[in-house]
């Protein structure tokens, strides 16, 4: 877990917005620093590349044990416990309709935050932090239909690869976690 964290930190250092270099001091900040570059954590789910905004990511962890919760949606692996914090852990491949994958050695849990609560997203591999300028972003193409489209906030292009930017609010919609239980009428 610490390795990934270091990577993140390195990535932050590389951005140039937050950290000034020796060069900057020498040349009096002449170097143009792009303020509009957005940073994303890019990862792989099945054969597709996804990313979420770096602000949403709290931590990247190795897989940990989860406790299955009965009467919940199939995409929920269960609840996990990271340093005393209990969080739902989602099988992202399942959630995105990419089938159930066996998690390999590269699999990681992205711990993201929504509404002050942590959630775990299991992905097959974390690429790292990418910076995507707005001009490389596309609106969600209308041609992609179905429920999957709701999870897509935008499409980004990074080094000629297409990265799907996830709409976390949709992916983590609370109502989807607990299917309406059939014994639920009346109460």
């Amino acid at each position: 877990m610490s390795v990934e964290k270091d990577d993140l930190w390195q990535a932050l250092l590389r951005t140039g917005e937050a950290v000034a270099s020796e060069e900057d001091y020498e040349h009096g900040y002449k170097r143009e620093v792009r303020q509009d570059l957005r940073q994303y954590v890019a990862f792989r789910v099945a054969a597709e590349s996804y990313a979420v905004s770096i602000q949403d990511v709290e931590e990247i962890s190795k897989l940990f044990e989860t406790t299955p919760v009965p009467r919940t949606a199939a995409f929920l692996l269960g609840i996990g416990n990271v340093r005393g914090r209990i969080m739902p852990v989602v099988d992202l491949a399942h959630r995105l309709g990419l089938g159930e994958a066996e998690f390999g050695r590269a699999a990681r849990v992205l711990i993201v935050e929504r509404g002050d609560e942590p959630y775990g997203l299991v992905v097959d591999e974390v690429y790292g932090v990418v910076r995507i300028p707005p001009e490389s972003m596309e609106e969600r193409p209308g041609a992609i239909g179905g429920t999957r489209a709701d999870y897509i906030r935008a499409l980004g292009r990074f080094e000629s690869k297409i990265i799907i930017i996830l709409e976390l609010a949709e992916v983590l919609e609370p109502q989807d976690f607990v299917p309406r239980y059939k014994g639920d009428e009346g109460s």
């Binding site: 940990f64 044990e65 989860t66 406790t67 299955p68 919760v69 009965p70 009467r71 919940t72 929920l76 609840i79 996990g80 416990n81 340093r83 005393g84 209990i86 969080m87 739902p88 509404g115 609560e117 959630y119 983590l172 609370p174 976690f177 607990v178 239980y181 014994g183 639920d184 009346g186 109460s187």
Partner: protein, 705 residues
């Protein structure tokens, strides 16, 4: 510092509650004819410090009211006025008004509307009594002028009371070593208090030497000279009996000099006018005479802590528990290494020590959250008193177990349900006086509030000797209100029908009275109790009375859980909703129309298979079993048997919420850690029982209990 600060409100409330408690005791004592002067003094002191407190925080209204009340109490203390029912009424009203004055939302209105009139009434009580009722010295001349002039007004009043009661008066002359005088006086006083009242102690007129002080102690007692001499035989004292002048023998009662009323102990009636009387010894008359000094010190050595802060601490302790378990794992690894055997041994000792201290820490934090249930009982006692008056019913309330402690949160949540129950009990349960008399019952209705601890639960009972609940009447009303159909009712037992009083929208009164009967009462009670993971039960007998019992966990932050396993999955069940766990041979399980049941002590118990209920995928080897465990759980008035594979034991667990995404999973209440980072789900027993009951109802209309 301002009058709305939580510090002031909290502390003032504490004082007022103490005062209210004193009032009730005084009322009870006045009924039996003998009030404890100590109690009056304590009340006086309480209000006196409230006045000081109000001054300190600039709470003018509270200050004014306590000032007037203090005047009344002083007059009572000095015997200028009697502790009549009217006086008690006004003082109880003052308690209510204090409550409103302290409520930031109510305060302004209360100060405007209620305050002036009450102050006038308090003042009138004192004015009506006029000045001191007796001239000094006349009948007390036998005490001796030298002593008499030194007596304060209060001491003189106590002396007079003792004379009036025909007690023997003794002057005990004692010499104390100047260095040990504190302890000496205390010891002597303790001894004398058991036998009578220490009215005063004065430096002896006989003078004193350099290294000793001589004191005269005046004692009033029913014992005679011989008994007192025997009592003090070991002490270096001389004893003189003070006999009233003339022929008046000590045994003879001088006529009560100026009392308009006479003690008449008729404990059946609340209307009896009490007279200040003494039975118990006087603690320390000197210290509260005058009462001009306002102490700036807080009354109690307490701090107020936000419950949420305690929750944080509690969580930390829970996490420490996990760390401790992990340390155990490290220890195991260390043990496996030969080279580190010594270190492993040391670590074992340290971990054991830590475990013990951790348990103490956890208990300590829990204890901090605990408050006596008496806080609620005091409020209820006021409700009873007020209701009895409004409905013109005589009520004798008896309270026991007020010292039983419960989590602060639970105590707070409990006051409303209990109030509903008390209201119902007085409004519906207790018959009007004439009806009671006609039935040969005591005129005054009896209501009992009891609290006691049973295992790790607290039981609260509300018991009355009223008319009881008629199940046939309940049945008819339930059908009329369309809560059930006549066919459904046919299959129900009496107990089950009576339980329908907890159904939403049920009320037996056709007209809602001002007090209760809006048909929300018992429904609200049930929901609130269930929310606290408690149970409510009702036992009733027509014509004899009704008893409601509420069973509650002692705390909610940390609970004792039964750890069970089903299909290889581990769950926790709150132990407070577990009634018993039994082992059942599979062949004992019968089916009624496809629904599994067992017979437990003659009653049919519907079974719920946890593995089926939760559609658990079997983990590990789970073969067909010859016997299963049935955990009998109950919430509110229902009972259901949960079928599980294994009982893994009991454990204290810290409950953690599941977050907004999983909050609404039916049947799951939360999660907890069971060491080694293992997360285990906590069952929502209430929900599961409801499901089980609905199931059973839908299929067979089974007996619920």
């Amino acid at each position: 510092m301002d009058a709305n600060s939580t510090e002031f409100i909290g502390e003032a409330q504490e004082v007022i509650e103490t005062f209210s408690r004193h009032l009730f005791e005084l009322e009870a004592q006045s009924r039996s004819g003998a009030t404890d002067p100590d109690l009056l003094n304590a009340s006086f002191r309480a209000i006196h410090s409230l006045k000081g407190l109000a001054g300190l925080f600039g709470a003018a209204a509270v200050g004014d009211l306590s000032h007037s009340l203090e005047g009344t109490l002083d007059a009572l203390r000095l015997g200028k006025i009697d502790l009549s029912r009217e006086v008690l009424d006004v003082m109880f009203e003052a308690v209510e008004l204090f409550g409103r004055l302290l409520d930031p939302k109510e305060s302004a209105r209360a100060a405007e509307t209620g305050l002036p009139s009450l102050i006038i009434r308090l003042t009138e009580l004192v004015d009506a009594a006029g000045g001191p009722k007796q001239k000094k010295g006349d009948d007390l001349a036998f005490i001796g002028e030298t002593i008499l002039v030194q007596l304060s007004e209060y001491e003189e009043h106590r002396l007079r009371e003792n004379v009036r009661l025909g007690r023997n008066l003794f002057r005990i002359h004692a010499a104390f070593d100047i260095l040990l005088i504190d302890k000496g006086i205390e010891a002597l006083k303790e001894k004398l208090k058991v036998h009578g009242e220490v009215i005063t102690y004065l430096p002896s007129v006989d003078g004193f030497s350099d290294d000793s002080i001589e004191l005269d102690i005046i004692v009033g007692t029913t014992d005679d000279y011989r008994a007192i001499s025997a009592l003090l035989a070991d002490d270096n004292v001389s004893i003189h009996q003070l006999t009233p002048t003339g022929e008046a023998a000590p045994q003879e009662r001088p006529p009560p000099p100026s009392r308009p009323t006479i003690v008449e102990p008729t404990p059946e009636r609340t209307e009896v006018v009490g007279v200040i009387d003494t039975d118990e010894p006087q603690d320390d008359a000197r210290e509260d005479v005058g009462g001009g000094e306002v102490s700036l010190r807080s009354l109690s050595q307490t701090v107020r802590v936000d419950l949420r802060r305690l929750d944080v601490l509690m969580n930390l302790v829970g996490e420490l528990g996990v760390v401790q378990t992990n340390l155990g794992g490290v220890l195991e690894q260390l043990r496996a290494l030969e080279a580190s055997a010594d270190v492993a041994r040391d670590l074992t000792v340290q971990i054991r020590d830590m475990t013990r201290k951790l348990a103490l820490l956890q208990q300590g934090i829990l204890d901090v959250r605990m408050v006596p249930i008496g806080q609620v009982f005091d409020k209820l006692a006021r409700v009873v008193r007020k209701l009895g008056r409004e409905l013109d019913k005589e009520i004798r309330l008896s309270i026991s177990g007020e010292e039983t402690v419960l989590d602060k949160l639970i105590v707070e949540e409990l006051s409303d349900p209990l109030m509903h129950m008390i209201r119902n009990c007085i409004d519906h349960g207790i018959e009007p006086t004439e009806e009671r008399v006609a039935m040969g019952k005591p005129q005054a209705g009896r209501v009992e509030l009891r609290a006691f601890q049973r295992g790790n639960r607290v039981v609260i009972e509300v018991d009355d000797d009223g008319r009881g609940i008629d199940w046939q009447k309940i049945r008819d009303v339930a059908i009329k209100r369309q809560l059930v159909t006549a066919e459904e009712v046919a299959g129900m037992g009496a107990h089950e029908i009576i339980n329908m009083i907890f159904a939403p929208g049920f009320s037996t009164r056709d007209q809602a009275s001002a007090v209760s009967g809006r048909g929300v009462g018992m429904d609200v009670v049930k929901t609130n109790i269930a929310k606290l993971s408690g149970m409510i039960d009702v036992a009733t007998e027509v014509g004899r009375g009704t008893r409601f019992s509420i069973t509650l966990p002692v705390t909610l932050a940390i609970i004792q859980a039964l750890v069970i396993q089903s299909a290889g999955h581990t769950f926790c069940i709150p132990l407070n909703s577990v009634l018993e766990s039994i082992m059942v041979e599979t062949r004992e399980i019968a089916t009624v129309e496809g629904h599994e049941v067992i017979t437990l002590r003659g009653k049919t118990l519907p079974l719920l298979h946890l593995s089926r209920l939760f559609a658990l995928k079997a983990r590990g080897r789970v073969g067909p079993m010859q016997r299963v465990y049935v955990v009998v759980v109950g919430l509110a008035q229902h009972r259901v048997g949960l079928v599980v594979d294994e009982l893994l034991g009991q454990q204290d667990v810290v409950i953690k919420p599941l977050g907004s995404a999983l909050r609404s999973v039916p049947g799951i209440a939360g999660a907890t850690e069971l060491g080694a980072n293992r997360t285990v789900l906590l069952l929502d027993v209430g929900r599961l029982v409801d499901e089980g009951v609905q199931h059973a109802d839908a299929q067979l209309g089974l007996i619920r209990r």
